[in-house]
């Protein structure tokens, strides 16, 4: 097993470092700490955060890549790149069927010609290789599922109750005991929204436990055309969505910040040039600019196969390039916003006071302007995230999204279009993509709302 680091992995680690650095910085600065504390008191936001963290965990697991050694060889490694998530989900990966099967199905979705025991050929729904294979013919599938759900949920509850009790114990006020703590917790009177946190946690854990437990016996979300488990595909898509939502912002942020502040502060010729650049870029409809970029990349890749030696690397490059070009289309908006704000701020009395004390241009931009536009940047980053995740789906449909071999919700939806037209309809791929995407985007939107409310000075009363 040899570690293999993809370019997007590097950027993800960099992003983590940036976030960690920012967290340390924020904890030392009152003007950042206060709004964040306000965010932590919003029940919806904290519930959303728990869900987001679960997605992030999946994404991070999927960002630790390695190449397994070839069996029987000490030095040679397979050209296939795997991730920690792949290793974790390898049972799911191995349990492929021949083709479509519905969620929790025990039989295939389509009729096939099978050989009867008596030697006659017949059209029938064959049993699946893995889905519900442990059931004997007469056994009730529903009862089996119910038992498993009950077991999994019960186990989670048993684990969760002590946690909740511990939280309640910590919430009790000096005067009263347990009951008081429970009451405070239940009425949502605690400082942090523990009630929501605990409830979200238990729902989330129960969902995870059930999925884990059931997917060992069934294809919980069915299988696709080549018989691959849809749950696996959905989980593998998480990383793609997160990467597009975050790396795009990461790559565009330095440009937007630097040019936005510079244009607003320097004015004159510098401002004219920067304005020209972003007006030019933003004048091209986003989809077309992305299409133009991706088309060029496709042709380039097709003619330089030596650089992109394996499927994973190629898909990764394409993902990275997509982030870059999405970033190119989206930095202009933030840049314009920052320029406008800096134009106002540069006339603020405190900036004039700093100038009158002889502060250098750089000091004014770094010490006075940058900290005062950070809230705009932060709001833009969190608001952009969900938009970018949604954009991925559209772009993949148009054919200029991520690599067709890469797992992504966009590719799943794109494939599902044809499946919807089948008779009987295959709806679960679409359903699974919808479920995962909606959960992530909704959580992100709820969290972003709270961040915006806390940081936007205009919304503060």
């Amino acid at each position: 097993m040899v570690p293999h680091i993809l370019w997007t992995d590097v950027l993800i680690y960099l992003l983590l470092a940036v976030i960690a650095g920012f967290a340390v910085y924020a904890s030392r600065h009152e003007h950042l700490r206060t709004p964040w504390r306000q965010v932590t008191r919003r029940p919806m936001a904290m519930g959303a955060l728990v869900v987001l963290l679960a997605f992030v965990a999946v994404g991070l697991l999927d960002s630790v890549h390695y190449r397994p050694r070839l069996p029987g060889s000490a030095t040679q490694t397979s050209s296939e790149v795997r991730s920690a998530l792949d290793a974790l989900l390898s049972p799911l990966r191995r349990r492929t069927e021949k083709t479509y099967s519905a969620p929790f199905a025990t039989h295939a979705h389509g009729r096939e010609t099978v050989l009867r025991p008596d030697g006659a050929l017949a059209r029938a729904y064959p049993r699946l290789l893995h889905g519900g294979a442990h059931l004997t013919d007469g056994e009730s599938r529903l009862a089996d599922i119910l038992v498993k759900v009950a077991t999994a949920t019960g186990t989670v509850l048993l684990l969760w109750l002590p946690l909740a009790a511990w939280v309640a114990w910590r919430q009790r006020s000096p005067g009263d005991g347990w009951a008081g703590g429970w009451q405070r917790l239940w009425r949502g009177e605690s400082e942090l929204p523990w009630r929501t946190l605990l409830l979200t946690l238990v729902v989330l854990l129960a969902a995870i436990a059930n999925l884990a437990w059931l997917s060992a016996y069934y294809h919980v979300l069915g299988t696709d055309q080549v018989g691959q488990d849809v749950l696996l595909k959905s989980l593998k898509s998480v990383r793609t969505g997160l990467v597009i939502g975050t790396l795009t912002t990461l790559v565009m942020l330095p440009f937007a910040l630097f040019f936005g502040i510079l244009a607003g502060y320097a004015r004159g010729l510098i401002d004219d040039v920067i304005q020209y650049v972003y007006t030019t870029l933003s004048s091209i409809p986003d989809v077309l600019l992305i299409a133009a970029g991706v088309l060029s990349l496709q042709v380039y890749m097709a003619h330089h196969p030596e650089t992109f030696d394996n499927v994973t690397t190629r898909a990764d490059w394409r993902l990275l390039f997509l982030c870059l070009i999405l970033g190119l289309t989206s930095w202009t908006g933030l840049c314009r916003l920052l320029r406008g704000e800096v134009l106002k701020l540069r006339e603020a009395d405190y900036v004039l006071a700093a100038r009158s004390l002889g502060a250098s241009h750089f000091a004014i931009m770094a010490r006075h302007l940058l900290p005062n536009v950070m809230h705009i940047v932060l709001i833009a980053v969190v608001l952009d995230f969900s938009g970018l995740v949604l954009a991925e789906a559209v772009l993949s449909y148009i054919g200029v999204g991520v690599d067709p071999t890469m797992d992504s919700w966009g590719n799943m939806i794109n494939g599902a279009r044809l499946e919807m037209a089948r008779e009987p309809m295959v709806w679960w791929t679409l359903g699974a993509a919808f479920l995962f995407m909606f959960t992530l985007v909704l959580a992100a939107n709820l969290f972003a709302d709270a961040v915006r409310d806390a940081f936007d000075p205009r919304l503060r009363r």
Binding site: S356, G358, R367
Partner: protein, 673 residues
């Protein structure tokens, strides 16, 4: 009480208004009684945070919901209790029986509707049902009544096309449109210049005489109160602490708070010493008070003041809420001393002035057309010359838009002047560029008006104060020590270093600004209206501090202001600006005792005087013209009561009356200078 209760048209009893905030309930108005009779003006006076504006909104039931709500009391207008009306009924009272005008005419008018449309909306009763032609007549009549010239034309204009004074007149016309019996005026002249303020106050008085309107005037300005109030009510921390007829109030204020307000007003008579200040701050209105709300800041406090809420005492004709109202010593305020040069400070200016500004111009081009060529210039500063000697204060006085702030920025090279020279300590600042200018700047700091905007909200106070030191390359440890010293100098604890600006009050922030300016041991500080945003009692503290610094460290000030009281207290020399140029300058005694330019005369007479016995008021008509199209000849001639033919033709040359007193006016002979 001069207003018998049964005659009152507006009668308020036990009014309580509260605001729900995350930190708790704020009792902004906590049991307020007042009454106003037709044709009378009651002035409700208080500093910021006293609850006076909330009172105004409460009377019309216009508190911002859902945070603010009325918690009790009754408001009777013509015998009807408004608190019992439904919201629907209440609407028929707003604007009809009781109208209101606000502080900011700029933002109080809808920017995208014409004056006529907004006025038409305010018509009530039969006026609403008039045929179009008659309705138009009524609108014109309204604008005429508030002294807006060319009303037919103005009806089709938008608010931004009117000047500040004109907007406030339009607001008043709107208030009158419903033919109200009660007018609530919330700081109606605070946003206006003194000469415009005089016009508006005059207008309100005239309208009151004509219509018998009852006016509730809400203000923080004792000068305004002295000019038009019949009766005065002083508000402090949500309650009225004193109520008296105007004359009585100004002759013998009873409440310790009122008395201390009077004593903290700056005036020439107090030049010798420092102003009296009120220690502490207005208490938080989140608490419940056991005793007197003023007890913590009162110089006459007794133990019972803290335990027992003082009763309402009537010492005819004054009513006062104070335990000790009867046994306080009579108030002494030093009377204005006759103008005479004080020999100590006012020795002849040293031959080499510290700052010498000559012929300073600041023109902003107006660009138009395809190629954006300059088709004209806003002549914000148009040939200003002045000089300041070490350790002296020059007050640059003028109304808003006269270019005084731009002049200050151009002197500091925050704006590069179009023409002219600024010499500081032998260096010509206008000739310096880049690094050398940057390094010299440390010696020329500025203190701004707005205590909120002048401090970077994202920086701890220590860094803000240390900014200049940081530029000068002072090492960190040394810097910390100096910052602590500076904070002590301006009267702040050194633990303030680690805190952020928003944790401080307005006065404290101005102290921080001053500390920042002091850090590099400057010899000159430009102060741009440093006390205009502050309450009287806080203003006194800042003025004292500035004066003290000058005495100790010999700092010179260029003091930009429109407040004549402050000028009289602090300045040695005065320069009066009008439309980008200085029209009169000289020593304080010369200019203030015997102003020679008609504009200076009008400016000084428009300052409301406390005892009401100032010089006869000269109310200037019209507005300040635009600096992009200054009038021909003497800029002041369209508003000048004494303008002659020559004034329309040519700009007057300097007339030098004494070695220091210079005036630009044709009335002073044909230019002796």
């Amino acid at each position: 009480m001069t207003t018998p209760v049964d005659q009152a048209i507006l009668r308020v009893r036990g009014l309580r208004a509260v605001f729900d905030t995350p930190e708790g309930v704020v009792h902004a108005v906590d049991g307020l009684d007042l009454s106003v009779a037709p044709g009378m003006t009651l002035a409700l006076v208080g500093e910021s945070g006293s609850g006076k504006s909330v009172t105004a909104l409460s009377l019309l039931r216009l508190l911002p919901s859902p945070a603010g709500r009325l918690a009790g009391g009754e408001v009777q207008v013509a015998g009807v209790d408004l608190m019992r009306l439904s919201e629907r009924q209440m609407r028929t009272w707003r604007g009809r029986r009781m109208a209101m005008i606000f502080q900011e005419p700029q933002s109080s008018l809808n920017p995208v509707m014409t004056v006529g449309d907004q006025l038409r909306e305010a018509l009530a009763g039969e006026d609403r049902r008039l045929p179009p032609a008659a309705r138009l007549r009524r609108l014109v009549e309204l604008l005429n009544a508030v002294g807006i010239a060319d009303p037919e034309h103005r009806l089709d204009e938008y608010p931004h096309q009117l000047s500040g004074g004109m907007k406030q007149r339009a607001m008043i016309a709107m208030a009158l449109a419903g033919r109200p019996q009660v007018l609530i005026a919330d700081e109606p002249t605070t946003a206006l210049d003194v000469t415009i303020q005089a016009q508006i106050l005059d207008l309100l008085q005239r309208l009151q005489r004509e219509t018998g309107l009852a006016i509730l005037l809400i203000t923080h300005d004792l000068g305004v109160v002295a000019t038009i109030a019949d009766e005065v009510a002083v508000m402090y921390a949500g309650v009225i602490v004193e109520r008296a007829p105007r004359a009585t109030f100004f002759a013998s204020p009873r409440h310790p708070y009122s008395r201390q307000l009077f004593r903290s007003l700056p005036a020439r008579g107090k030049r010798g010493g420092s102003l009296e200040t009120i220690p502490g701050m207005v208490p938080s209105l989140r608490q419940t008070f056991a005793g007197c709300r003023f007890a913590d800041r009162c110089e006459h406090v007794e133990p019972r003041c803290r335990q027992q809420e003082p009763p309402w005492l009537t010492i005819a004709p004054t009513g006062v809420r104070c335990h000790r109202a009867n046994d306080l010593p009579p108030l002494t305020i030093s009377e204005p001393v006759p103008a005479h040069p004080t020999p100590s400070a006012d020795t002849a200016p040293s031959p080499l002035p510290l700052l010498d500004v000559s012929d300073l111009h600041m023109h902003f081009p107006i660009r138009r057309g395809v190629l954006q060529r300059a088709v004209g210039y806003v002549r914000a500063v148009d040939g200003v010359s002045l000089s300041i000697a070490r350790g002296r204060t020059l007050a640059l006085v003028g109304e808003s838009g006269c270019g005084k702030t731009t002049a200050g920025k151009a002197i500091l090279q925050l704006l590069r002047p179009t023409r002219g020279h600024v010499r500081f300590d032998g260096y010509d600042l206008t000739a310096l560029r880049g690094e050398s200018l940057r390094l010299l700047r440390q010696h020329l700091p500025i203190v701004f008006q707005d205590p909120v905007g002048s401090l970077n909200p994202r920086m701890p106070v220590g860094e803000i104060v240390g900014e200049g030191l940081c530029v000068a390359g002072v090492p960190w440890h040394e810097r910390q020590r100096r910052v602590a010293e500076l904070l002590e100098q301006v009267g702040l604890p050194d633990e303030a270093m680690r805190r952020y600006p928003h944790e401080f009050s307005g006065g404290q922030r101005q102290r921080i600004s001053i500390a920042r300016a002091l850090a590099t041991q400057p010899r000159l500080i430009v102060c741009d209206e440093p006390t205009s945003a502050l309450d009287v009692s806080v203003q006194a503290q800042i003025l004292n501090l500035l004066k003290q610094l000058q005495e100790r460290q010999g700092i010179a000030y260029l003091f930009i202001t429109h407040n004549m009281g402050v000028v009289e207290y602090l300045a040695h020399d005065v320069a009066v600006m009008y439309l980008g140029r200085i029209v009169e300058q000289g020593r304080l005694e010369e200019v203030f005792a015997a102003p020679r330019h008609p504009y200076t005369q009008a400016l000084l007479s428009a300052v409301p005087v406390l005892n009401g016995e100032g010089p006869a008021r000269i109310i200037l008509g019209g507005d300040i013209p635009s600096p992009s199209r200054p009038p021909s000849g003497c800029h002041f001639h369209p508003r000048c009561p004494m303008a002659g033919a020559r004034c329309r033709r040519e700009y007057p040359a300097e007339s030098r009356l004494t070695a220091t007193h210079v005036v630009r006016c044709h009335l002073l002979g044909s230019g002796t200078g």
